[in-house]
Amino acid sequence: MSTHPFHLHGKSVLITGASSGIGRAAAIACAQAGASVILSGRDRERLDASLALLAAGGAHRAIVADLTDPAQLAALAEQAGMLDGVVHSAGVTGFAPVRMLQQGLLDTVMGANFTAPVLLTQKLLYRKSLNNGASMVFLSSLAAHTGTVGVGAYAASKAALEGFIRSLALEIAPRGMRANCVAPAMVATPMVSTDPDFLAEKSRHYPLGLGRPDDVAHAVLYLLADASRKVTGISLDLDGGLAWT
């Protein structure tokens, strides 16, 4: 079904954080849409489990890497090959009221959510690993736009990412390359919570319910596909119609 512009046939897409949650859903959706997917994550076993879920037909691969380690990040950039799309979905949360905030937590959150995707982008651009017209999608968060108690470091890391992509979008536009964020509100993933009572309580605030990993994956698909070839530097809100965003 490639008579419409929403497919990824012939495209090679690298997805970080692909061993669970949104990254895994994005990998499945991209493979389904015709892409060859390179999955990256820290845990070999869970990454292989993701790989096993991908549609047959594409030349899918899994590369284990901890992106907060410079050597492993460089190795991933080297092994990924030529790319048409990158989905930066590796990330961590981190809860601490500012009064209790420590350098260690700040470094962990900024390192995983901001520094790693920025440096991976730098490496890929420097190595000329991105084909003309390539699309990069970064996982921001509703938290970048709204205030929530206790998630200052996380919100800052995502807001930093949104600032970063606007510069990036202008720098790469001459080659038809694009950079965008998706900013989801609460999606039921292992990163958020595995407690059904907590998720049910949160769900009451959302007119359209909590998000599913697929909802984010499909927005990512739109932003990777040629359907969005003129969309760049945006942050697409995905929030189930939440009234206060």
Binding site: H4, A169, P207, Y222, K230
Partner: protein, 244 residues
């Protein structure tokens, strides 16, 4: 192969302003994605020409004047129940504040704000918008950069955007989603009636075509955007990056 999340197979989609530009491109893409399209606009002959370019069968032309109450109600009566509605009509000449008149402001707001909102109201009242339907309103990225001469147009875009966000809250209980697409300067091949007073220069990614905007609209109509409401998707080739 499983159904693409972007498929509109079997869906009834209304496209207001389907006679040209973004509306016509949207009608074509929706039809290609499997929808049955109701093409709506002022001129039946133009709409019929566009309908002839659509894939599939069962597409309907409904011509009428959306700017007045009688026209709207006659139109709504003739329509089926929709799974998706796209409001793409409306445009505005550029005019500096010094030269603005009440008449110009009224005309811009009547076409770009009042018509889509009151047509939505009429469709809702007549139960022509189905449970879980997606509504998409075409505004303009000009509301973000607001260069000289676009006061009325930019104000209309911003007004519609705000109204759509309220609409989305009010009708979320019926599973209805409402979003905006904000195109930049779109080159649809037709010469401009009045040349703009100022232009913002070329977009970083080059000219935006009607098909590019239509693809964003189709995403917001499709099951792929099941969880998206109250948002505004900017499709401007990066033109408003400096001011966002």
């Amino acid at each position: 192969m499983t159904l693409s999340p972007f498929s509109l197979d079997g869906k009834q989609v209304l496209v207001v302003g389907a006679g040209a530009g973004i509306g016509a491109a949207t009608a074509r893409l929706c039809a290609r994605l499997g929808a049955r399209v109701t093409l709506c606009g002022a001129d039946a002959a133009t709409l019929t020409q566009v309908r002839a370019t659509l894939d599939g069968a069962g597409h309907v032309v409904v011509a009428g004047n959306l700017l007045e109450t009688g026209g709207r109600h006659a139109l709504v009566d003739a329509l089926p129940v929709f799974d998706g509605c796209v409001f793409a009509g409306g445009s505005a000449d550029t005019l500096r504040i010094d030269a603005l008149t009440q008449q110009h402001l009224d005309a811009v707001f009547a076409a770009n704000v009042h018509a889509p909102l009151l047509l939505t109201q009429a469709l809702l009242a007549a139960h022509k918008i189905g449970h879980g339907a997606a509504l998409v309103y075409v505004t303009g990225a000009v509301q973000h950069w607001a260069f000289g001469g676009v006061a009325a147009q930019a104000a209309g875009n911003a007004a519609l955007n705000a109204a759509v966000r309220a609409l989305a809250v009010e009708h979320a209980g019926q599973g209805i989603r409402a979003n905006c697409v904000a195109p930049g300067v779109v080159d649809d091949g037709t010469p401009e009636a009045a040349p703009p007073i100022e232009t913002p220069g070329p977009a970083p990614l080059g000219a935006v075509g009607p098909d590019d905007v239509a693809a964003g609209i189709a995403y917001l109509l499709a099951p792929a955007s099941r969880w998206v409401s109250r948002t505004s998707l900017v499709v401007d080739g990066g033109l408003s990056l400096h001011v966002r």
